[in-house]
C-alpha cells in the first residue's frame, strides 16, 4: 500500500482550513451538547429564577407608582427580563475555573502542541453550543411570555441588530474571560480576580436592572467599560426604543470592544505561554 508522504508538504490554505475547523468543531459541539440536553435544560430553567425575581420586584414597584419606573412599565420590565434569559445564556463562555482545570489536567500542554491558537477551540465549541441553546430557549421564552405578558414592539431592523448583537456579546465576553483565565498561568488566585470581575459586571452590565435605573455616576462608569455591550445593549436593541443611529453605533461599540479584547488576548497569550513554558507544567 502506498503511503502519502505529500500530506506533510502540501496543505490547504489557512483561511479555508480555519473555516473547516470552525464548522467541524461547531458540529461536534452540537452533537455533544445534544447528548447532554437534559442537563442543559435543567440549567437553563434554574437560571430563570434570577430574572423572574427581578421582574416581579420591579413590576411591583412600577405598579405601586402609577405604572412605571423611570418610564419603564411592568410590561416592559417583563420584556427586558425575558430577553435577558437569552442574552445571559449567550454570555456563558469558558471560565477561569475551566482554565485552572485545563492546566491541571495537562490539556493546555496538549493544545500548545498543535499548530492552532487554542482560543479558536473555545470560540468554535461554545459557538456550536450556543446554537443549541438558542433553539432550546424558544419554548422557555414562550412560557415566560404567557405568564408575564411582556410588552414588545419590534421592527425588522431591531431583530436583525439583535441577532448580530448577541454574537457580539458572546465574542466580547469570550475575549475578556479568556484574558482572566490566562491569569491562572500566573497565579492560583485567579478565581478571586474573576469573582471581582463578575461583581463589577453584575452591577454595570444591565444584568441587575436596566441601566436607566442605575444612578448617573454608575451609568457614566458603565460607558467606559465593556460590560454593557455584552448585556444591556443586545437586550435594548430588541426591547428598547433605539434609533437606527443608536443601533448601529451600538454594533460599532461591540466591534470596538471585541477588537480591544482580541488585542489584549494576543499580547497576553504570547507572554503567558512564555511564562508557562518557563516554570514547567
Amino acid at each position: 500500500m502506498s503511503f502519502v508522504r505529500s500530506a506533510a508538504l502540501t496543505r490547504t490554505s489557512r483561511p479555508r482550513a480555519l473555516i473547516d475547523f470552525y464548522l467541524t468543531l461547531m458540529r461536534t459541539a452540537i452533537q455533544a451538547q445534544f447528548q447532554y440536553r437534559v442537563a442543559n435544560y435543567m440549567y437553563m430553567i434554574g437560571m430563570v429564577a434570577e430574572p423572574v425575581i427581578y421582574l416581579v420586584v420591579w413590576s411591583t414597584i412600577a405598579e405601586q407608582h402609577g405604572g412605571s419606573v423611570e418610564g419603564i412599565t411592568a410590561g416592559q420590565f417583563a420584556a427586558y427580563y425575558i430577553v435577558w434569559t437569552l442574552v445571559r445564556n449567550m454570555n456563558i463562555v469558558f471560565t477561569p475555573y475551566g482554565w485552572e482545570e485545563r492546566i491541571r489536567e495537562g490539556q493546555l500542554s496538549a493544545q500548545l502542541l498543535r499548530p492552532l491558537h487554542p482560543i479558536h477551540y473555545d470560540v468554535a465549541f461554545f459557538a456550536g453550543w450556543k446554537l443549541v441553546v438558542i433553539v432550546m430557549w424558544l419554548p422557555i421564552a414562550v412560557v415566560l411570555s404567557l405568564i408575564f405578558h411582556p410588552e414588545l414592539d419590534v421592527s425588522a431592523l431591531e431583530v436583525a441588530v439583535f441577532a448580530v448583537a448577541i454574537w457580539g456579546a458572546y465574542l466580547i465576553r469570550t475575549m475578556f474571560l479568556w484574558l482572566l483565565g490566562m491569569t491562572s498561568i500566573w497565579t492560583t488566585r485567579a478565581s478571586a480576580l474573576f469573582e471581582t470581575y463578575v461583581m463589577a459586571e453584575l452591577l454595570l452590565s444591565g444584568r441587575l436592572v436596566p441601566l436607566q435605573l442605575m444612578p448617573d455616576w454608575a451609568q457614566r462608569l458603565a460607558d467606559l467599560l465593556p460590560f454593557q455591550w455584552t448585556f444591556f445593549f443586545p437586550i435594548q436593541a430588541l426591547v428598547g426604543e433605539l434609533s437606527t443611529e443608536e443601533l448601529l453605533q451600538g454594533l460599532g461599540m461591540q466591534v470596538l470592544w471585541t477588537a480591544i479584547g482580541t488585542g489584549l488576548v494576543v499580547v497576553a497569550f504570547r507572554r503567558s505561554v512564555r511564562h508557562y513554558s518557563a516554570v514547567g507544567n
Binding site: 434554574g46 429564577a49 416581579v56 411591583t60 414597584i61 405601586q64 469573582e195
Partner: protein
Amino acid sequence: MRALRVAWLYFRIGAMNELHYRANFFIAAFQSLLALFTGLVVLALVFSHTEQLHGWSHAELLAVLGIQIIMGGVIHTVIQPNMLRLMEEVRDGKLDYALTKPEDAQVLVSVRDYRIWQSVDIVSGAVVVAVALGQLEREVGPVDVLAFAASLALGALMIYCFWLVLSTGAFWVVNMWTVAELFEGLYLSGRWPVGVYPGWLRYSLTYLVPIAFAVTVPAEAVTSRLHWGTLVAAAAFSAALFGFTRWFWRLGLRRYSGASA
C-alpha cells in the same frame, strides 16, 4: 439526645480539618462579602425608586435580606454539604459505609459533613439584621425575639426536610446533581418578602420549596408583624413535613438495600 452528640462529634472533626485551610476562610469571606454587597446594591436601587415594597419598609426589607443570608449560611454550612454527599454516595454505591455504622442512618447522613467557613454568612447576615432592627421604628420585644428564634429553627428544619426529600429521590433517579443549582436560583427569591410574588409562585415558594417559612416568616416575627396563626401553621407544617421526610427516607433506604444485593 444521641443525634445531637453525633452531630457535635462530626462538627468537631470537621472544624479541626477545615481550620487547617486558612485560604478557604478568606475565599469564603470574600465570596460572602461579594454576595452581601450585591444584595445591598439591589436594595439600594429599590430604595431609590420606592419607599416601600408591598407594605414592607426599607429597614424591614433589609431584615429580610439579612435573614436570607443567615439561612443561606446554615444551608451551605451543614445542610447542603451533607445532602450533596448523600446523592453522590448513592450514585457511586458508597452509601454502604454509612449504613453499616451503628447509628441511625438518617442522622448520620445529615450531620457528617460541614463547610465551616460558610458560616461566615451567618455572621454577616446577623450583622445585617442587627443594623436593620436598629433602623426600625418599632421596638423589638422579647416575644418577637422568641418567635423569631422559633420560626428560624422551624424554617431551617423545613429546608432540611426539603433537601432530604430531594436527595432521597436519588435512590430512584440517579442523576440529581443539578438540584443544587436549581435550588440556588430558587433560594434567591427569599431576598424579598414572599407576598411580592404572584399567587401560584407564592404557593410554590411556601409549600413546595419552603422558602417562605425559612425567610419571610422569621422576618415577620422580628419585624413584629407575625400572626400567631402563622407560627402555629409553621409548626404544624414542619411536623407533617418531617414525618413525611422520615417515611420517604426509610422507603428509599429499603429500595437501596434491596437493589444492591
